[in-house]
Structure formats: structure tokens, C-alpha cells
Subunit: 173 residues, 2 copies
């Protein structure tokens, strides 16, 4: 799974939670879905302010990223770990040092037994210009973190294997 840091506002300050349960959800308008344990402080922040950010850390932020998953915003003030910025939404703090960040407006909350699945419309997307090649995000420059469970391991993205929507054409005949 990809590793993201979800930004919210809580008790009048920014809060950050590491989340691997993330997927795109709708093409047009662009939407993203994230699943968060109901016990997490970030769930309260999203329910209250109807907004959140999705930040993709590079491997250089592995310690800060892991820390944001270890420590609850209910117990520790996580607002000073990162330099932050805001886009259009006042309650979606974004992390300056993350190469790709998204600000999202909550559109739907799915109340599952132990988790909330929050669906947000992507209202703004920001990227470090060094992480783009020919106008597209370049994963070799972003160098994002991957996570596997239950072995609790972080991984790098490895070798390029082929072009999607192309390599399978040989079987089309």
C-alpha cells in the first residue's frame, strides 16, 4: 500500500496521521477515499471540518512519517513536526516537505464497523517541480514510501517493468 500523511485541524491546530488505506475513488470529479480507525483523533477532525489533506512523503521523511502513525493527536501536539501551507481549504493543512500533496473536501462518510471511510473531492493538487517529468509526476523523483502489513515494513519503489495499456497488447490477437 502507498503511505500517506493525512492532515486535519484539531483543537485549533494542525494534526497529522499516517494512513496506508487510501485509494482513488472517482475519475470526474477527482475523488479519493481514505479509511481511518474511528478511535483516531483525525477522524474527529475530518467529521468536524469536512476537509483533509493527503500528503505523499518521500523516503527522506520515513522517521517523521512513522512517528505520525505511532503517536495520537489526543496525547501529543503533532502540529510542529512539519512546515505547513494551505491552499483553498482552511482546514486541510499540507506539508511543505512532501513532494505531492492534495487538499480534499469531504463529500461522503461511510460508517463501517470499526473505521470511517471518508470520500473527498480533490480541490487542489500541489507538487515539487523537481518531481515532474514531461508534466507528469515522476515516481522515481517523488521516491514515495510503500508499506506492507502485518510484517510492518517500509519499502522503496523498485525497477520499471513496462508500460500499462501497452504490454498486454500482444495477447489481444
Amino acid at each position: 500500500m502507498p503511505v500517506t500523511i493525512i492532515g486535519t485541524r484539531l483543537n485549533n491546530r494542525p494534526n497529522f496521521l499516517t494512513v496506508g488505506w487510501v485509494t482513488r475513488a472517482n475519475i470526474n470529479p477527482p475523488m479519493i477515499a481514505i479509511a481511518i480507525n474511528k478511535a483516531n483523533a483525525s477522524a474527529d477532525g475530518i467529521l468536524m471540518h469536512k476537509a483533509f489533506s493527503v500528503n505523499f512523503p518521500g523516503t527522506d521523511l520515513i522517521e517523521e512519517t512513522d512517528y505520525c502513525g505511532l503517536v495520537s493527536g489526543k496525547e501529543k501536539d503533532k502540529s510542529r513536526i512539519f512546515d505547513i501551507f494551505y491552499g483553498e481549504l482552511k482546514n486541510a493543512p499540507m506539508i511543505k516537505s512532501c513532494p505531492i500533496t492534495l487538499e480534499c473536501q469531504l463529500t461522503e462518510t461511510i460508517d463501517l464497523p470499526t473505521n470511517y471511510l471518508f470520500i473527498g473531492e480533490i480541490k487542489g493538487a500541489y507538487g515539487d517541480e523537481n518531481c515532474f517529468t514531461e508534466g507528469k509526476p515522476d515516481v522515481t523523483e517523488i521516491n514515495p514510501l510503500l508499506l506492507t502489513m502485518p510484517d510492518n515494513s517500509y519499502w522503496q519503489v523498485g525497477e520499471f517493468l513496462g508500460r500499462a495499456c501497452k504490454i498486454g497488447r500482444s495477447l489481444k490477437a
Copy 2:
């Protein structure tokens, strides 16, 4: 994003669609969410039978995987690409050659503008015993496919970087 092949039944035969919009959604009971364009034949299969499978192909299946994303089940019979098996659910065909497979019962359908977000409870999970280390799925043995968009590229999982819920402890002090 991870690359999965979603298995459904359609017109009384198995059908397979490549999907990268996948995330775990709930801890207990275990649930998974997948987002599928409403125009895809697989969406009809899931709505009709309330079941689907999630198959994680290894890099050796890159051509077959790409093919299942290129060609519609409305036009081509994709039922013979893979050897299949069934678990508990009659309408969730699983792929024998995939190292990890899940069979899911549809529990909720979120009707978004262009996509359905299907939430399924994982009723059974199957794995190649060679892909486990100390009882846990081992990503270096599974060797799954990763996908980036919009540059349409497949990638391998790369180097191990550190232990989650551990490497960030140094910042806790």
C-alpha cells in the same frame, strides 16, 4: 498504487478486470474497497451477484494483467486466460496463478458520479505457501506489480527501508 485483478461472474462465466483503485476499508470484520468505472462490465457482475474476488498478480503475470485492463468483458471472453478456483462464494472466481487472492461479499455500494465504490467483506484469503515467511505474506516472494498514473507505468517493489511502528520512535522523546 497496487495492481489487482478483480474476478466476477458475468453472462454465466468468469470475468476479470485489472484495478488499481483498491484499499483496505475496515479492520474488523476485514473489508476492502475497490473503485470501478460504471461503464465496466465487472460493475454489472458485482451488482448482480454481490460478490467479487481480489487477486494480486506477481510480476510474471504482467502481460495477462495488462490485457485484462485493455479489453472489455463486454467484447471479449476473458474466462479462459487463467486457471481458476472457487472458495466459499460461488460468484467470486479466483486465479490459481496469483500468489494472494481474496474472496469478498459485497456489503455496500457507494454510487459516485463516474464510479462505483464497492465495499466487500473478505470472506476467505488464499496464498501460495512459498510466499509466506514466519506465517506472514512476504512481499519479496509475492513480487506484486505497482502502477503509476498518468504515466502508465508498472514497477516492482524495491529495497526494504525500515520497520513501521519502530523507526519513528527516536522522535518520540
